[in-house]
């Protein structure tokens, strides 16, 4: 306790970060989301050791086997098999790498690129900022999925191209959010005070602006992550992303479209996987946003 000027030593004043964390821990939904997110990350990292079979292994004696809790199910194939006799559980676990893992990568790249442009744009004024503004408005007026689809159309179908396309489509959102946060922050009085004190641009950025960006970054990252998962699977579903044998969840879904009536689980399960992973991301994001907002008030 630094308490040199603190006349009430029994009163521990907590930092905003501690307060936010404290609030977040009390949020049941947020904590469930955090555990779910941790579990999902674990699945992504340890897929080869956790999955019972290889994702492409075909069991010709067990085609279209329903999940183990159904009457015809078999515990060897816990979530059943698809029309080629591949184990659904293994495919879903490996799919976590392709869908969730790639989404994380995409968001990190977009955050870095968008953050840099946003900070530079937000700190500058006049013509340069105005051009950036208009350009961003235009890019943002095209929905990110549409933008991704267009980029895929230019680059050609495939998972790698999809990832590039989605990164390109998400970057403007990050740029926009961070640009707005930085330029809002730059308008505030304490920044003016810093500038009058003779602070250099770097100093203003490092000690004035950056510490106040954390809530923008947190909320934009979780939002971007859920958008990335949804976009990757959507492009996969359209048949423009990961190509069929690969167990990307969206591609699995579009692969199983014809089996809707025959084997509903082949449609339900990948969708459920997408829903749950987006849901845990959103739960964490929502919890963090709430906590940060409450501390700010």
């Amino acid at each position: 306790m630094s308490g040199r000027a603190n006349i009430y030593p029994e009163l521990h004043v907590r930092s905003p970060r501690e307060q936010a964390w404290e609030l977040f821990r009390k949020n049941t939904l947020g904590m469930i989301g955090l555990w779910g997110l941790g579990l999902l990350s674990l699945l992504t990292l340890l897929a080869p050791w956790l999955a019972p079979y290889a994702p492409y292994e075909q069991f010709s004696q067990a085609l279209l086997m329903p999940p183990s809790w159904a009457d015809e199910g078999n515990i060897d194939f816990f979530l059943g098999t698809d029309d080629l006799g591949r184990d659904m559980l293994s495919r879903l676990v490996f799919g976590a790498r392709l869908t969730f893992g790639n989404a994380v990568l995409v968001v990190l790249v977009a955050l870095l690129a968008g953050g840099c442009i946003g900070i530079v744009g937000g700190m500058s004024k006049g013509f340069k900022a105005s051009i950036l503004n208009h350009f961003l408005d235009t890019l943002l007026s095209i929905p990110s999925l549409l933008l991704a689809i267009i980029f895929v159309a230019i680059l050609g179908p495939g998972l790698f191209n999809t990832l590039i396309a989605i990164t390109l489509a998400l970057t403007p959102q990050f740029t926009r959010a961070i640009y707005n946060a930085v330029s809002d922050e730059m308008q505030k009085e304490y920044i003016t005070a810093l500038r009058l004190d003779g602070g250099t641009r770097w100093r203003i950025l490092r000690f004035g602006v950056l510490p106040n960006l954390s809530d923008t970054i947190v909320s934009q990252t979780t939002r971007g992550l859920s958008a990335a998962i949804l976009d990757i699977t959507a492009v996969g579903f359209l048949g423009l992303g990961a190509q069929p044998p690969r167990p990307e969840w969206g591609a699995m879904l579009s692969d199983a479209m014809d089996l809707v009536y025959l084997a509903p689980w082949t449609v339900t399960l990948p969708g459920l996987a997408i829903l749950l992973s987006v849901l845990v991301v959103n739960m964490v994001g929502e919890g963090l946003r709430q906590a940060i907002n409450e501390v700010m008030d």
């Binding site: 006349i7 009430y8 029994e10 009163l11 307060q19």
Partner: protein
Amino acid sequence: MPLLDIRNLTIEIETPQGLVKAVDKFSLTLADGEIRGLVGESGSGKSLVAETIVGIAKDTWRVTADRMYLDNIDLLSLSHKERRRIMGRDIAMVFQEPSSCLDPSERIGAQLEEAIPERSFQGKWWQRWRWHWRRKQATALLHRVGIREPKAVMNAYPYQLSEGVCQKVMIAMAVANQPKLLVADEPTNAMEASNQAQILRLLERVNKLSGTTILLISNDLTTFARLTDNITVMYCGQAVESGTREQILTRPRHPYTAALLQMMPDLDGSLPHKSRLNILPGVIPPLQSLPIGCRLGPRCPKAQKQCVITPPLAKIKGQTYYCHFPLNMPEGKSK
């Protein structure tokens, strides 16, 4: 028969640090037709008291009182809805920062007309269906609060008006239904001196002309002392002293009142050059760590061992105070 009678009002606020007693055993009795000043530094709980009286307490507050009567009506026993109705009929409030208290998306006229109650209608019954009686009355109200161009103001949006005019409009809205009690919470806060004087004069006129009782809340004794009949002083959620204006200004019993009076800088040059201002040592304690006993204790120049026990209510010639060692006591009576 007092108009408003509050005994031992306690307001506790839920905070992340637990329950905090923001107002502790506060008592207030308002006679019909008086102007009462409620003085205290910011954070002393005077706004909480005002908001409790007009019934806009927040969900996180726990309000308890032994007695809370308005004109023989027990406010504590009323249902939420009935209380709302009584508040609308008998009590009005004027806030600080008036421009933020007017709906920004509606013209002043419409808001003023909303505030005019149905029962204030005077005229033939068939005229009631003609909408413009409200408009006429609104114009008259604006005239009464000293606005020269009522028409223009009626058609304006709040952001087009200055703070002073907004406050006049607020007062017009407050007096529209001829309330028995008008609560004014720092009505001249952050206003220029000329506006301040106008608003205070206006409040005085409302009191004199329609006999409205006014509870005038401020953190500054100087500006409105001459307006009031009686003054109550608050410190840290407790009423420390209460009496007539003369009593408080000339013979304060409580050290805090005395300190408040000394704090007003004299401009007659009696303060030597570069000497310290007359202020109490220390700072107002945060609500989480209030001292036990007399809350002024740690800052009081006269504090003694006994001050860790909450002082009882004492009364001399109608002047009440909570202090073990009062000042300015007549000979022979002091301890």
